[in-house]
Amino acid sequence: MYSRLTLAPADGSKLPEILPGQFVQVAAETPGVFLRRPISINDVDYDKNTIDLLIRKAGTGTAALLSLKENDTVNILLPLGNGFSTTAEPASRLMLIGGGVGVAPLLYLGRKLKETGHCVEFLLGARSGADILEMEQFEEVGRVHISTEDGSLGEKGLVTQHSALNENIDNIYCCGPAPMMKAVAHIAKERNIECEVSLENMMACGLGACLCCVENTVKGNVCVCTEGPVFNINLLNW
């Protein structure tokens, strides 16, 4: 179960500047949930002063968020973490690869890249067509390729087997399940493609204070919440 939440500051204050790939820490005030939940920023509309979150029901916390109703308020910290780099060379071929709910940060990233004059393509993967999210929104921004494991939409197979990857690619931006990101990183390394991935390590604080969310990198253990969630794959020990 997936759903999109659109949120505006309850006090009417102006949203801060948000980079694509940054996330929020949201309090799901429901029995059995203690810590905040990290959720990527899916889209930002500065005119309407809103952000969108795309949430997949994983457990009690996300279920509570999905049951929020219009005009409910939630306690949220934002923006957190470092985003994707948006400084690709002009005229590069950029591929934004997302799996499952991992597509979330790619929408805002795609918009931002487009704003800076880039032409972006999306490669979205899922188990089946019904799990491909926000296709229309992505189509507004760039060309969309689809992979589904059951072949019910787009090409059948994993994203890493999609024909859109056969031609030259300059930059990959990827978010999804770890095995998918690792497979993509592997291809990128082999073909010398610049590649950034967004990790989803378990977080407590989201502020760099607790050191719970670490990823073992070439620089040792670093916090995903502050030095990530987006990492250049060259930094990872994958």
Binding site: A27, G32, V33, F34, L35, R36, N75, L77, N201, M202, M203, A204, C205, G206, L207, G208, A209, C210, L211, C212, C213, V214, E215, N216, G220, N221, T226
Partner: protein
């Protein structure tokens, strides 16, 4: 307005609110949310003699009203702290307290010795109770002999305020506290995390890379309050209370049980501005209860 200042050893804290080591980074992480200068003090990350990478990921799992962590003292070592971090954070008008850990007595001693030279660090908190490291750590905190040994050795090189942080994983925490007091500790703080464990029943494996970890958060508060009450009755030095403080009410609960100051830990993850709210609550509580000096209520139970 009531007087909120309290004394711990030679420190005079502007109010009883400190932050708990390992939950507040180096303080800087919280400046977008709070005015660090308003804190009684801030206790920073566990610091060891040498750089430590800590334990492998995963290091955290949520539990009912709490969390288990197995960070394992990841830090860049005392020299890096002195040269790179201390200069950045020393200018806040709030007591900067360094939490010190080690695997061997000599490591504690050398770390303390190096820290003693820092102008703005007037106290260290010695962690003899970390359940997340293999050697040393908790071992010292679970016997009166171990606690006495570490305290004595550090006392001989560290002239400023020495706080010993106690482990709750013991039969009689009051005995451990008395051992630290006897060897010259200026204060004891308690509790550190309670050793716990959690299993992913679907994957049939532990949630933490280290199998066991340290439990913190409101789940442990009743245990922490009880221990603070027992220790405050057993020692003459001031006691610093912590464990599951989520708000001002909880902080006052620890003070009534005998704590002279409190530390806020895991609550910083839920609400990074919680410390300011606790200070506000204390002021309000004192005025509602006609208390002129918060010291009046310490150990009232």
């Amino acid at each position: 307005m009531a007087k909120l200042s309290v004394n711990i050893g030679s420190l005079s804290l502007k109010n009883p609110v400190l932050t708990a080591s390992g939950t507040f980074g180096y303080g800087e992480e919280f400046t977008p949310f709070i005015d660090l200068n308003r804190l009684g003090g801030y206790i920073i990350k566990g610091t060891t003699l040498e750089h430590r990478e800590g334990n492998p990921y995963p290091r955290m799992v949520e539990t009912p009203s709490g969390m288990l962590n197995a960070v394992g003292l990841q830090n860049k070592g005392v020299d890096y702290f002195i040269n790179n971090i201390y200069p950045r954070i020393k200018e806040y008008d709030s007591e900067l307290i360094v939490n010190v850990s080690g695997a061997k007595v000599e490591d504690y001693v050398e770390t303390a010795r190096r820290l003693s030279s820092l102008d703005k660090v007037n106290a260290i908190e010695v962690n003899i109770s970390c359940p997340n490291v293999k050697e040393g750590g908790m071992a010292f905190g679970t016997t009166t002999k171990g606690a006495a040994e570490v305290t004595k050795a550090i006392r001989s090189v560290y002239p400023k305020t020495l706080i010993v942080k106690l482990s709750p994983n013991v039969t009689s925490i009051a005995d451990i506290a008395k051992a630290a007091e006897a060897e010259g500790a200026d204060s004891v703080s308690l509790i550190n995390t309670i050793m716990g464990m959690s299993i992913d029943v679907e994957r049939r494996r532990p949630h933490l890379s280290t199998i066991t970890g340290g439990l913190s958060g409101p789940a442990v508060r009743p245990v922490a309050v009880r221990m603070v009450w027992q220790v405050a009755k057993a020692v003459k030095i001031p006691v610093i209370g912590l464990g599951g403080i989520m708000n001002g009410r909880d902080a006052i609960e620890f003070m009534l049980a005998g704590a002279t100051a409190v530390e806020i830990g895991t609550a910083n993850f839920i609400d990074p501005a919680v410390t300011m709210k606790v200070i506000d609550y204390m002021e309000d509580y004192c005025s509602r209860h006609g208390i002129n000096d918060i010291n009046e209520i310490i150990g009232e139970i």
